[in-house]
């Protein structure tokens, strides 16, 4: 699909290899240890401190469901309100269109350097590559994004882009990149890395011609965009340059400021366990007469890129996502392999549902399959997205389209033919169980078994005890009945 040509290159088809490499990467494994505890404990505490937290989740879900049912209406009203505030709205159907609009806006502003706040949709559309191709230098100003930018990497987590790195790796990157600074400077404390990045970025903020931010929410009532951050970089990005461009996907709309406040109450708690992020910033149009600061031009680029086709489909629930990252923070598969293994912009359970919608299930087919369906993601989702159910729907689509491996499909049909006929099943399993039981009872478990190497490569397989339960039960009951007669 040509529409996807400027989008981020995907390595999702080689998910299995990615996962193997991730499991063998000692630094990555050490960095991932933090995800397993820090985020989970903090979210649990934040939820426990707010008795109405689960009710707020219901309310957040209801707000998003309402918006999705009336999205056309709210988008039209939002556009109207942005215009009324002196801003401009641009609709982009595809990633390519979105990048082209932004590059064009930057060129019209005569920009050579643009600062960027953290934006996942800008990763999705491959915006940095498009800017660079047009001779415009994008500078990521979120610390995590800055780190991965100097490493030439993509985010491995939607709210903590550099969570796959250890402090030692980041220090080495800073020393490698910031060569104009004293080579002997002390960077032992994490704060010293932050201070160094801040100082360097300050200069860039002042130099930038355009600031690009994402949006956590767009408010139809007022035409405002809202970003939530902890570093304040987003504010400098959108206030200092002459032009502020907001890039957001269409489902970020909420009807009113009241609705936005409701969603903010679950967002930070689910994401980082904070009651609120340090900064929650609303932008409504460009600088007005008498405003002490703010941009002279305010543009919003609304990206569809496949989302409108999800409305009315079995994947519509996914459009409720508010990008908190709680699903990946609680996912045992994410904990094991990290975000890069998923091979595209959005990792973890939300990515396993969204990625096939955006780049095609033929490319991202592994992702919805690489889940144990443990359901922990759904249990923490602030907008109650039934993630396992949606992953299962992808598996159904793959099955219908014969995308799953032929041997697997054949095996499944073979097994199902027996499972549908319990009497035949009882006969065949009894034979198998007795044979395996005889082979294995002395040792107790098999270290290797033909056709079971996927299991026995890493763990033993307990041998059946002998005959099946059903066969034994049937024999006992028959004997009992005979005695009775």
């Amino acid at each position: 699909m040509s529409a996807h040509s400027t989008m981020h290159e995907s390595t999702s088809p080689r998910f299995k290899q990615n996962a193997r490499e991730a499991l063998d990467n000692k630094q990555l494994q050490s960095a991932l240890g933090h995800v397993r505890h820090r985020f989970i404990d903090k979210r649990a505490q934040a939820a426990a401190q707010l008795p109405e937290f689960d009710d707020l989740r219901d309310s957040a879900k209801a707000i998003k469901d309402h918006v999705l049912a009336h999205l056309d209406l709210y988008l039209a009203h939002y556009e109207q309100q942005v215009h009324a505030a002196g801003g401009h709205v641009h609709f982009a159907r595809t990633a390519q269109e979105a990048s082209a609009i932004i590059v064009d806006l930057c060129q019209k502003a005569g920009a050579t350097t643009v600062t960027k706040g953290k934006s996942m949709v800008s990763e999705e559309i491959g915006l940095n590559a498009a800017l660079l191709a047009a001779g415009i230098k994008p500078v990521e100003t979120d610390l995590g994004e800055y780190i991965i930018q100097i490493r030439g990497e993509t985010p491995s987590h939607i709210i903590a882009p550099a969570v796959h790195l250890t402090k030692a790796q980041i220090e080495a990157d800073f020393r490698r990149t910031h060569t104009h600074l004293d080579a002997k400077r002390n960077l032992d404390a994490p704060e010293s890395l932050l201070a160094e990045a801040r100082t360097l970025l300050r200069d860039q903020f002042l130099r930038a011609d355009v600031g690009i931010t994402g949006a956590n929410l767009l408010v139809a009532e007022t035409g405002s965009s809202i970003i939530v951050t902890n570093e304040g970089n987003g504010d400098l990005t959108q206030i200092l340059p002459k032009t502020h461009i907001v890039i957001a996907s269409i489902e970020k709309i909420v009807p009113t400021l009241e609705d936005a406040a409701q969603i903010l109450r679950v967002l930070a708690r689910s994401a980082t366990g904070q009651d609120m992020t340090v900064y929650s910033t609303l932008s409504t149009g460009p600088r007005r007469a008498g405003d002490p600061d703010g941009p002279e031009n305010y543009h919003v680029v609304l990206v569809d890129n496949g989302r409108s086709s999800m409305i009315g489909s079995e994947f519509e629930d996914m459009l409720r996502c508010i990008r908190c990252g709680a699903c990946m923070n609680h996912c045992p598969v994410y904990h094991a392999v990290g975000g890069h293994a998923y091979g595209w912009v959005y990792p973890g359970p939300m990515g396993s549902v969204l990625t096939p919608s955006l780049i095609g299930v033929d490319k991202a087919g592994h992702l919805p399959n690489a889940s144990t369906f443990c359901g922990r993601c759904e249990s923490v989702c602030p907008v109650r997205i039934p993630l396992p159910k949606l992953m299962r729907h992808w598996r159904e689509r793959e099955f219908e389209r014969h995308l799953s491996p032929a041997t697997f499909r054949w095996g499944l049909s073979f097994w199902a033919a027996f499972a549908k006929r319990p009497r035949l099943y009882r006969f065949v399993t009894s034979f198998t169980a007795r044979a395996l039981g005889m082979m294995g009872r002395k040792v107790g478990s098999f270290r290797w078994l033909p056709l079971a190497s996927g299991w026995t490569a890493t763990r033993n397989l307990a041998a059946p005890q002998g005959d099946t339960f059903q066969s034994q039960w049937h024999r006992q009951r028959t004997a009992k009945d005979q005695r009775k007669n």
Partner: protein, 260 residues
């Protein structure tokens, strides 16, 4: 319940118990009969989860329908597994969402299905287990039972009621063991990483017995523990509650004379 005739329980033994560990099935029968139930075992196979979770709805529906019919006439359908019970309670109705005639049957069937331990506790009001068990035990919450059916306190209460039993909670007891059905084979590297972490948490408790309510998870954890050469015994919770601690633990060798 004294004045009523005995409730008629259809035991859904689960394909894994049927095949690998029939003793769990007999323990289930014992627990149910001890609690005053009549137990029947209609001819059955698997709940259909492998097909359902592999995207093969057509086969999953056929298999579901087979079992809805097989268990007609039972007051309750009880399974020693949160995963299979969850499939029947939550997903059988979903499978027939677009077929109103069967949907009504599937819903009625689903409303009668229970996981065994929570059934003993919540429906039969069993509060105390008369058996003793002189072991330090750690309990793993299997995902479907925990999150689809809300099984968490019931097994712990019954275990703690047993004389001699010490319950030691492991870290991350509510985190998946990495089994996930076909996941364990299709993504065996990742599954291995998850179960290895689980085994570290089990080992940290120093418990001598690991129990859980699902044989799939148990085969996975037992398989990893025995590959690592660990001595922790692994058993289905139903064996412990029924007082069957003489059958060799999961994956342990059978000594002669132990034949079923």
């Amino acid at each position: 319940m004294h004045s009523n005739p005995k409730p008629r329980i259809g035991l859904f033994v689960t394909c894994l118990v049927d095949m690998f560990r029939p003793s769990v099935g007999f323990c289930a029968v014992k627990l149910l009969e001890d609690a005053g139930c009549e137990v029947v075992v209609p001819v059955q196979s698997c709940c259909g989860q492998p097909a359902y979770n592999s995207g093969d709805r057509a086969h999953a529906r056929d298999i579901a329908l087979t079992h809805i019919k097989a268990f007609e006439g039972c007051d309750y359908i009880v399974a020693p597994s949160g995963s299979c019970a969850g499939m029947m309670v939550k997903h059988y109705p979903e499978l027939f969402a677009d077929d109103p005639d069967i949907l009504a049957q599937a819903r009625s069937f689903a409303s009668k299905c229970h996981e065994l331990v929570s059934f003993l506790s919540d429906v039969l009001n069993v509060t105390h287990i008369a058996q003793s068990c002189h072991h330090s035990v750690t309990y793993h919450d299997s995902c479907s039972g925990l999150r689809e059916l809300g099984i968490s306190d019931q097994p712990r209460r019954l275990l703690k009621s047993m004389e001699g039993l010490t319950l030691i909670e492991m870290k991350e007891n509510d985190v998946c063991c990495g089994f996930g059905g076909t996941f364990a084979v299709k993504y065996s590297d990742i599954s291995d990483a998850i179960v290895s972490q689980k085994c570290r948490n089990i080992e940290d408790t120093s418990a001598d017995l690991l129990v859980a309510g699902d044989l799939g998870c148990l085969l996975n954890m037992a398989g990893k523990l025995s590959r690592q050469g660990k001595k922790t015994d692994v058993r289905h919770i139903v064996e412990v509650l029924a007082g069957d601690l003489t059958t060799p633990a999961i994956g342990a060798p059978h000594k002669e004379g132990n034949a079923q």
